[in-house]
Symmetry: C2
Subunit: 336 residues, 2 copies
């Protein structure tokens, strides 16, 4: 027991599970961004031949799982658990994807932090000896998220500069007890932090304190400093939230070398794309990590990364009831 726990929030995976394959599918806007060559598939239209955006999102998740299985030369039957989640009410993208597959299913909700939540729990299941192979998957879709969390697209509401664009896409990975890496080595699980932000169009500011809380817990628990990692990437703080997080971390004594502290939401779109503060959504950290970072690790261009997916646990219902936005961030250390 003692060897697995480090401080309050961090655990060590004693037999680090290997990420043996990944799959990423993105929408047309993400396919025009600077990371386009890293994604396995780029959709030409954001309904992908389905009747609704919601059905498209479920298909995104299902196809990402199938592609990750294919990339690992595994059948559905060789997978012990599916850890999945998304942003939609009752996580319907995940449930409807799971319906198509005969894999024991754990549904998760951590808003955009679900990406590292699924990777954390999946890796724990493998390291704990409960599974040989698990699938971890998340998805999001600009058009399903806008109409659920903000306004119907047809309404044509004006978006403030602090807003972010929900990434359309899905990212899946297979975590296995055997493989050549990259390996999941440490997991730092976040607490729910509420900074009192009430603006659903400024999620970066709402999530920044949660990201800081988890990052500081990770370094405190492991007695490590940021120089250990090649990349420390938050999930979807966007420009505003990432600047806030960096400022707090610097004030608290954490120093980053040039280019180490990044945000998936700042990486996925080009500067001239109309996305304001950047990308967001479960698929933001999932496609950037399983597409860009994973492939750079396979090429040995990156060796040690810390992915800190960030979730704004907001709800239109609690917003109407004048609640502020609680947030959470989960960190996973991935090493070659």
């Amino acid at each position: 027991m003692a060897e697995k726990r480090f401080g309050k929030q961090t655990i060590k995976l004693s037999n680090p599970p290997s990420i043996i394959s990944t799959a990423t599918i993105v929408g047309p806007a993400e396919g025009k961004g600077p990371l386009k060559d890293y994604f396995d598939q780029i959709l030409e239209d954001d309904k992908w031949g389905q009747e609704s955006w919601e059905k498209c999102e479920a298909k995104l998740q299902e196809e990402a799982i199938r592609m990750a299985l294919m990339n690992a030369s595994l059948s559905e039957g060789s997978v012990d658990y599916l850890f999945a989640g998304d942003l939609l009410n009752q996580i319907i993208s995940s449930s409807y994807a799971a319906r198509q597959l005969s894999i024991p299913y754990f549904g998760l909700y951590g808003a955009c932090s679900t990406m590292t939540e699924s990777l954390s729990l999946g890796s724990m299941a493998v390291d704990g000896g409960f599974a040989d192979n698990v699938v971890c998957v998340t998805s999001s879709h600009f058009s399903t998220a806008e109409r659920q969390f903000r306004f119907p697209l047809e309404f044509g509401s004006q978006r403030p500069f602090s807003s972010q664009r929900t990434v359309t896409g899905a990212g899946a990975c297979i975590v296995s007890s055997v493989g050549n890496g990259p390996y999941v080595t440490y997991v730092t699980t976040g607490r729910v932090i509420d900074a009192g932000i009430i603006d659903a169009n400024n999620m970066g500011a709402a999530m920044a304190p949660a990201a800081v809380d988890t990052i500081e817990a990770h370094f405190r628990d492991l007695n490590r400093d940021p120089s250990y990692y090649d990349i420390i990437a938050t999930g979807d703080l966007g420009k505003i939230g990432h600047d806030i997080a960096e400022e707090i971390l610097k004030k608290d004594g954490f120093k980053f070398q040039e280019g180490v502290f990044k945000d998936c939401g700042k990486l996925i779109y080009k500067k001239d794309q109309p996305v304001f503060s950047g990308g967001s959504g479960c698929a933001c950290s999932a496609t950037v990590t399983y597409g860009h970072f994973f492939k750079e690790m396979k090429k040995k261009k990156l060796n040690k990364i810390l992915v800190v997916a960030t979730g704004a646990l907001m709800s239109p219902m609690s917003y109407q009831q004048k609640e502020s936005i609680p947030s959470v961030a989960h960190a996973v250390s991935i090493e070659a």
Copy 2:
């Protein structure tokens, strides 16, 4: 590894974690039912002094956690993880409860199956060596569920005989690496099954095939038959769903001794309460298991139970898009 996996869906907890304490709080209707003496607290009004039913549900969950901690003489700081979920969009009851506590948080969504989902993952975290103590908690509320999944209460819609009443309440337990039991011994994780039911007022029928699938997997994987258990309890199939499940299981060759195959949704209300097919909701299986069954196990009146919480993964959005209701059920074996 091999010793932990039994067949496709079942795992054995090699060092069975102990449920060292529980706490249950229920609403006024549940406090008039036949199990009323088993619950730790019964509310006199279903808002509990809060401004909204949603805020009441978050308080139910928070107070159930605090009571379970107190019953185990543990502080928040001694708990490694909080595994929580509920029925509301973005699981706000859980997020707002977690905001009040400084415990690393995994948010879950499996509809009413979340009760055994949280107990499964919490027990795996303890048995895997990642935690000494975890809290597993779920909640539901009649008034928050009705207006989210069906109609606003003010609308006064007539309820069909196949409908069930969502239990108002919360149930929490502390799972620990040390303790005197009862112990979590086996976990059977469900696959998503869709029987094609589209009626949101007939959830029992939608969930019955998922319950059957998981129960049969449990017995097949362990090469066991129902006579092993004192009680095999589904979560919230209600009268209609439970009859369907029993009929299918009997056809498939599973025989139950009198009084063994039960349903928490059939146990929680009196016959003359206007609940039609019975109780439902995450709190249904949670309060019946952590209140009734747990206390009977402590008194040695029950020794071996299999709890099979059942979840209808329906959504008003997918319902409008003419999707049927996928379901899932997770089984947990608890032994004295």
